[in-house]
């Protein structure tokens, strides 16, 4: 299966306009959950893949896609596909910048979170003040995809979008 999403150019702007329900600064395109979108006449078929197994936003995203496409006159079908498994590597650079501006630390590259799973320290810079003097509070925060960190310089806590690699 292709690692790069194949999205029909007519469908791209519609899909790009759909935000993640939980993190509205992020489009579902930037999140990397849209893997395939094809058009046959007026029939639009979109394949999406879930981030975390239990992510409750996926049902909402599916509904949002159907609504956005039928508003534009297409007959939409949305398929949830499990393989290949979603990874934070599929998040676009634009998406990562949007997260940071919003106050959520974007996922680091795969190696630093692998270190975390092996018990070594992750270094996540503070999205507010950029300091690297941050510490992990909990691997589990406000949603399944986020961990909680605290900056020891500006003393703000912040969410970190956990790597799934």
């Amino acid at each position: 299966m292709s690692e790069h999403p194949q999205i029909h150019p007519d469908l791209f702007p519609i899909l790009k306009s759909i935000p993640d329900p939980e993190i509205p600064v992020l489009s579902i395109i930037d999140l990397g959950v849209v893997r395939h979108a094809e058009l046959k006449g007026q029939n639009a078929v979109v394949n999406i893949t879930p981030t975390y197994s239990g992510c409750p936003a996926m049902d909402v995203i599916g509904d949002d896609i159907k609504k956005a496409l039928s508003d534009k006159g297409y007959r939409p079908k949305v398929n949830l596909i499990l393989a290949p498994a979603w990874t934070t590597d599929w998040m676009t650079e634009e998406g990562k910048k949007a997260l940071k501006t919003y106050g959520i630390a974007p996922p680091m590259d795969a190696t630093s979170d692998k270190k975390a799973l092996l018990g070594e320290e992750q270094v996540i810079p503070c999205p507010q003040c950029e300091s690297k003097n941050t510490k992990l509070v909990s691997q589990f925060a406000s949603t399944a995809c986020k961990a909680m960190f605290k900056c020891q310089d500006c003393e703000e806590t912040f969410d970190y979008f956990k790597c799934l690699i």
């Binding site: 239990g54 499990l82 498994a85 799934l164």
Partner: protein
């Protein structure tokens, strides 16, 4: 191997996630601290999400037009194949964490093998789930260490939990006749392959946590054959309440 055998095998994996997810969900708003409350319910959410994937697969395999919800909620007590370990109650945080740890180590190893199954749907689910279960295992293992090598009180409580829950570990490796058929074709995986490594791993962490590794002579089982402990009645009474009170209800 028939489709019925395959569904039976998948229940053996998915029902653990369902019932453990249900047990962890009981803690929502009742965790010992805000941080642990959120962590445990996040883990519940991961497990229930995995359950959904397995149940969607089973629903697709069935010839009866089932949905994932039918599969989850409309079975009778003896049709659930979860192990007895995950039925055990949330007695206190020590029990919650030890139950979790004993399960997470098994679950992780099971998913590692399941990634190599001949069944493309099961490998897809395994590839996805293992990323989440890695975080669960880190969390539960770290807490066993903190509590074991903690205060006198935490040490005593977690030792109690370890001693009590040890008898439920061996059932994780139990295989029914139908399970064996599914493993023969390569669709299922045989946990016997990592049983020794499982016990080595958990024993080592227990020792690191200054805890005694129990020398149990008797292990409990029955859940995987649908013969459950008394706890299952209460769990299902809560979980199936809406479906029993309002049959054919629609959200």
């Amino acid at each position: 191997m028939t489709t019925k055998n395959l569904a039976h095998y998948i229940y053996g994996i998915a029902d653990n996630a369902l019932i453990l997810g249900q047990r962890l969900s009981e803690l929502c708003g009742h965790g010992p601290t805000l941080e642990t409350d959120i962590a445990l319910t996040n883990m519940a959410l991961d497990l229930l999400g995995q359950t959904r994937s397995y149940y969607q697969y089973i629903a697709n395999l069935s010839t009866e037009n089932l949905t994932e919800d039918d599969v989850a909620f409309l079975r009778k007590e003896r049709e659930y194949r979860n192990v007895l370990l995950v039925e055990q109650p949330n007695t206190d945080f020590a029990y919650i964490i030890v139950r979790q740890y004993f399960f997470d180590v098994f679950h992780f190893m099971q998913l590692q093998l399941l990634q190599q199954s001949k069944d493309v749907n099961l490998t897809a689910i395994a590839h996805k789930s293992i990323k989440e279960v890695g975080y669960h295992k880190q969390f539960s293992g770290d807490w066993v260490k903190r509590l074991g090598d903690g205060t006198a009180e935490s040490h005593e409580k977690v030792q109690q939990a370890v001693t009590d829950l040890w008898a439920f570990t061996e059932e994780l490796f139990y295989l029914s006749g139908q399970d064996k058929l599914v493993i023969e074709t390569g669709h299922g995986i045989n946990p016997e392959q990592f049983k020794e490594k499982y016990y080595q791993t958990i024993s080592q962490l227990l020792k690191e946590s200054t805890l005694e590794v129990p020398e149990a002579k008797y292990f409990q089982k029955g859940g995987k054959d649908g013969i459950h402990s008394e706890h299952m009645g209460y769990i299902l009474a809560e979980m199936q309440f809406m479906q029993r009170a309002y049959p054919d209800m629609k959200w």
